[in-house]
Amino acid sequence: MATADDRRALSPAPGLHFSWLGLVGFGLALALLAVALVQARQFSLLREAVQTGDDYVVPMVFQAETEQLRLLDQWRQAVDERVPLDERALRLRYEIWVSRVDLLRGASTLRLIEAHSGYQQTLQQIEDFVAAADRALGPTPAIALERGFLGALLPDLEALTAPMHELSLGASHTVAEQMERRAVTVRQQNQLGLGLTVFLSLLTLAFAYTALRQVRQLRERRVVLEELAAKLRIARREAETASEAKSAFLANMSHEIRTPFHGLMGMLSLLRETGLTPRQIDYLRTATESADHLLALLNDILDMSQLESGRVALAVAPLDLRALLRDVEALMRPQASAKPLALHIDTDPAVPERILADATRLKQIIFNLLSNAIKFTDRGAVVLDVRTRDGSAGETEIVFEVTDTGVGMDEATLALLFNRFVQGDNSRSRRHGGTGLGLEISRNLARLMGGDIFARSRQGEGSCFTFRMPLRVPDDPALDEAARAPAGTPQTQHLQVLVAEDHPVNRQYMAALLETLGHEAHFSVNGEEAVQALQQRRYDVVLMDLHMPVLDGVQATRAIRALPDAALATVPIVALTADAFAETRERCLLAGMNDFLSKPVSPQKLAATLRRLFGTGAPAAVTEVLPPRQRAWGLGRALVDESAIAMALQAMPREKLATLVQAFLDQAPDTVQRLRAAVRDAQPLELRTNAHAAKGAALNLGMAGLAATAEALHEGAAYLPAHEIARLVQRFEDQLPATREAMVDLGVLRHSAQPAVTG
């Protein structure tokens, strides 16, 4: 992106300028040092001159010479016979003279004039004279002072006059020379100082110029950098926009493709019912399998593009973990059973029953890990181990560990595992299908949840995938906010509710539920009837089952939303469905539904949903009762779900529930017959519709085992081999008596032998 100019401005110049600046700075420092040295030298010179008092020597020697002449004069008077001898004056004069000549021997004097040739000799001469004169004139005279003595010494004193004059002159000259030398030195130093000052000035100018230039260049460089940054920002924005557009396009296309695709799949289902030859049925199954694969692919791509564009938000809510695991197991068991493969789900008792998580996404991850394990394992077992442990950050985390006895992976494959479009084994991918996006999606989702996924494996020895996430437990044991409302809140609103539901047991269940909540229930058995009913009278809300004959929930919703009467077209519609996949939910909301209720529908959930739609004035729900621990966990699954039964008992009296359960069980053989017929005639759509209806009713009534089998049938209808489906139908039938017994055990039904209690 950077042009050649940018690069030139960016790279080599700064270093060069820094070195120039450094050089000039160094020169400046040196010059300053030199100036300091010169000044120090001058200072010491001056101090030396002052301290030694050299200049003082000349007058001192001159004084000595003067005193010499005065003493000589006094001496001559003393020798003169004509004047009286002034002994006191002579002694004083002599003493002064001694004190003066004594100074010539002083330390500083000596240093300055000792070079003078006659100096030592003169000093000796003076000393000799003082020694001689002191005999009469000294402090302790040995002889009396008399003219003869003085006369004898006069020539010696006179002889001193010339050398002392010499000394005086010599000192003058020496000091003059010294002063001259000092002057020369000072002058030289002054010149040096002047030169240094000029040099310093020049250097300062150079320094200022370089610094200024550099500041200017830095400014220019900053401007260039800012321009570059702006360009990069624009480029990034463009790239981001392009990327977003691509993601959006991908998401839209995935979605757009899915709509006709559902049509295609529906047509394939219908095609099956047109009396095909076994060979055509075989082709059709292959086509259906491919279509399912393609749909899964599209879903993955949609997920991925949404994850990438950051449009995935987690819907964290309290959820029943064991129920969720049960759902997963029900979904996965048929796949495992298709191979000689055991599927175990072991839940540690310490794992809380209710946790806070996004149920759909959690299910998606576990589903992905399990289906991968089953895909790549041909014999042995796949185990999902759920437990809690203390995480690294001091928080408790929940760990889902999926272990298989499958083909395993080598190191290289393991390293590439979470990368896009990489599958464990390319040669196997075609055989096993899959988009290769599954693990990446799962890991992204896990990270979104604050957790992660790790894998370890060894070639030929199976794999172990560990998914961990922070464990969050709802503060309130209640399932949702409805439970927090006080029990028996007066019902302020009486709603007219239209329930579109094809299954009679579900209709009765919903009737009981709505009655409990103080609403009036009306029913339609399919979508078309619902649309008609809506046009005949006014309803406050429509609860719409998704799977219905003639016109399903989504189509019915589209039809309602397309009604010309705005008041009718805007009626709130809530989806009722047994599957809680995000995709289903999305489909509902896209079709124009307002909310989404997954089965089993509890009074709390229904009340909360209605309150969301109708505000705080809507009736509050019955207080949530803590569900009793589930029992009858045979082989890790429950035939009955006590919590669901407890929920149902809140909605209706025991007798009513007994009636519904009895009705379901009584109709079950018919259901089995219809399922068998659908399998025999290879009519997956029929199979799915029946299985789905059975599942919804079974969930509502707490018959978890039957619900799981029905769900497996519903899910597997499209792709499972016929014998597998037949086996599931058989299992459904086999579970009926056991479920009846469990219901008797729980006290829902009076007695197994008793006929159904009506009313």
């Binding site: 002052v50 004084q63 005193e67 003493e95 002064i96 001694v98 004190s99």
Partner: protein
């Protein structure tokens, strides 16, 4: 470095100086009423000029004993006239002036050899200038630059170490003329 020992005694000296200054003021205030006694021994110092308590005509004359009775100050200092630091003892110049009731702006010092030098009157007040009469605790003969030697405390005050103050240090002092 050379200042150090002097600094150590600084407080001491300051205190003493303060006391002396106080006594000098007292003297200055008291003396005009009381005449200076007459010298008994040979006169060694004559203070002339603006003298308020003369004892000989217009002059105030001192013999060695009179100077010795004034408060004495001692210190060691290096000088240009001796190779080593020597110890000088004698009355403070300002005490001598006070004793003579002398007050002026300038002091002219005259030595035996007629050496003359002027000193601002203020010098005697600002510095502890002494009229030394003992060198290393011994009287000074004329040949030893005695008998009186005006000495500044050169070592205690480095700024005094210069030609001007050296020249004001008159030795063989004979007369102080207060102008």
């Amino acid at each position: 470095m050379l200042k150090r020992p002097a600094d150590d005694h600084c407080g001491d000296r300051d205190r003493r100086r303060f006391v002396q200054a106080g006594s000098a003021l007292l003297l200055a205030a008291a003396l005009p009423a009381r005449a200076l006694e007459r010298p008994i021994g040979p006169v060694v110092l004559t203070v002339s000029g603006r003298v308020r308590t003369p004892n000989d005509g217009a002059d105030a004359q001192f013999d060695m004993a009179m100077l010795a009775t004034l408060p004495q100050t001692s210190f060691s200092t290096r000088t240009p006239w001796y190779a080593k630091a020597r110890r000088f003892t004698g009355p403070l110049l300002r005490d001598v002036l006070a004793a003579a009731g002398a007050q002026g702006t300038l002091i002219r010092l005259t030595a035996l050899n007629d050496y003359k030098v002027d000193m601002p009157y203020d010098d005697a007040q600002r510095h502890d200038v002494i009229v030394a009469r003992l060198l290393d605790d011994k009287p000074m003969a004329v040949r030893d630059k005695g008998p009186l030697f005006v000495i500044y405390p050169f070592d205690a005050r480095p700024e005094l170490r210069g030609a001007v103050y050296y020249s004001r240090s008159a030795w063989q002092l004979r007369t102080i003329d207060v102008l």
